[in-house]
Amino acid sequence: MDWSLLAESAVNGGLVGLMYSLVAMGIVLIYKSSSVPNLAQGSMTMLSAYVVLAFANNAKVPLWLAILLAIVTMFGAGMAIERVALRRLAGRPIIMILMMTLGLEILLRAGSMTIWGGTARPMPLGISDDPLFLSPLLINRTYAVGAAVAVVMFGLLMLFFRTRLGVVLRAISDDYTAAWSIGISVERGVALSWAMSAVVATIAGILWASVQGVDQSLAQLLLKGVTVAVLGGMDSIGGALLAGVLLGLVEGVAGSFLDPLLGGASRDLVDAAMLILTIMLRPHGLYGRHDIERI
């Protein structure tokens, strides 16, 4: 048993897990405000990476500016998706809404294939490929940066939910009708949560693109995102952060044992097991909101 290898897979796994959390946070933001499980979150992540490249390679602006412009563009795109596709479905059966987000996911994936083709392109973030040496452990630099960004995003969101606007969004997620009754524009609040989710997707998209390049496979991050979101409790940002670390850890450790035996698919097997077991054993996840019952 090689302990340092195990520790290395655990640490790198945890860091990757935090990067999964970024995808999950986007799902949670939308679910919190409107109870819509957004199956298009993966392809929104993918789209944002293409948008960055479009600004950087086609419009020839510097990368930092391309990222900024992509964030603004995706903010608008998130709002537009809500306004055009989702708002008209308010009050309709959840299955219709779910199918709509699935339709969006296929549309974005196929659309990106049509416009940009299927060849993977690099996302030149300029993070060195050399590992970080942490005494006996080798840490992937991109994972470390991604994990740090995830923690920062988490902090920003926590701060945001304490502001007046954030409190209004939380009120919307508690009770639509009551929110309407005191003059809150529920529609605008939901649109804002889509926009914020798209911005989080952009951050996730850029980081993941620098790990695996820009192509349609980025959309498959949906599976990680959904697993982490469900494990975290669907409506808890903190839960998503913790669940991400947990999933990453288990995946990393189990992967280093199972990969030699089962081949490369073992991580996906671990994901599937986590998702299915969470739903069977703990449907509220780690930190899901229970309805308050007074005794």
Partner: protein, 271 residues
């Protein structure tokens, strides 16, 4: 039995022949006319399902949330037609609706509930309004940091009213504030409502099944049955009215529920 239905400058709210349908087909209220004088307190009384809540929702605009619409009639607030306005525009104008069943934001603290209710007001107004609400309801101040879902029923009702006051209303509409509360709490809450009415000139439209409590604090009352206004008079006259005494003030000694049903049916045919 019907007082003047024409909107006058002295009425903060006037409903003229309002008809509401749900889902384009089912008629919930038919030809309801109600006036609330500026600075006045008016009760809308009636049994379960008579159309009281629907009437309030037609005024606050919350019918949209339930696929309902005002199909006919005129809704005037401070002399201007509000039928085409969204719920939030109405809140901005000064109409606020305290929903039946309190409906506080359970996962938010009372303080955050009040913050959320300031969406249409400035930050400066918010802190002033908060102080005002906490002075009316000191108990909310004590409990301001607990999740509102854990408050008692009475505290939640106070929070629901306080939250409505945060919007700086000119008309406060309350839907069954006494529901499920102990009598002493009902008395306390009704006292505070009439104090706010006296001190700030806030007009109140109170929907109640608890006619005894309601008629103590209002000046006028309307009685609604099966979606129609069947009686309108001063609170004093309503308290003396034998029909009201019999069926709404608990004076129906020896009468069975069947008789009350029969009474309702007879009324329906007569109107």
């Amino acid at each position: 039995m019907n007082a003047s239905n024409t909107p006058t400058a002295a009425n903060v709210l006037s409903l003229n022949n309002i008809e509401v349908v749900y889902d384009h087909v089912s008629l919930a209220i038919k030809g309801v006319s109600i006036d609330v004088p500026e600075g006045g307190m008016v009760a809308l009384l009636g049994a379960n399902g008579a159309g009281k809540s629907t009437t309030l929702k037609s005024i606050s605009g919350l019918l949209v949330a339930e696929r309902g619409e005002v199909r006919r009639g005129e809704l005037q607030f401070m002399g201007r037609s509000i039928s085409a306005l969204s719920p939030q525009q109405r809140v901005k104008l000064g109409i606020v609706h305290v929903l039946e069943g309190r409906r506080v934001f359970e996962h938010l603290t009372p303080d955050e509930n009040l913050v959320a209710a300031s969406a249409v007001r400035s930050g400066h107004d918010m802190s002033r309004n908060k102080e005002r609400v906490y002075s009316y309801f000191p108990r909310l101040h004590e409990r301001r940091a607990v999740a509102a879902g854990y408050l008692s029923g009475g505290e939640q009702q106070m929070l629901a009213i306080g939250r409505a006051l945060m919007t700086q209303p000119k008309l406060l509409m309350l839907d069954e504030p006494s529901l499920g509360l102990a009598p002493f709490l009902v008395a306390e809450i009704f006292q505070i409502i009439s104090r706010i009415n006296r001190e700030e000139g806030l007009s109140v439209l109170l929907v109640e099944q608890n006619a005894v409590a309601a008629l103590e604090i209002v000046s006028h009352g309307y009685l609604i049955e099966s979606g129609r206004i069947v009686m309108h008079d001063t609170a004093e006259a309503l308290k003396r009215n034998p029909d009201i005494q019999e069926f709404y003030l608990g004076g129906a000694k020896g009468k069975s529920f069947h008789d009350i049903k029969h009474y309702s049916r007879r009324k329906r045919w007569l109107t």
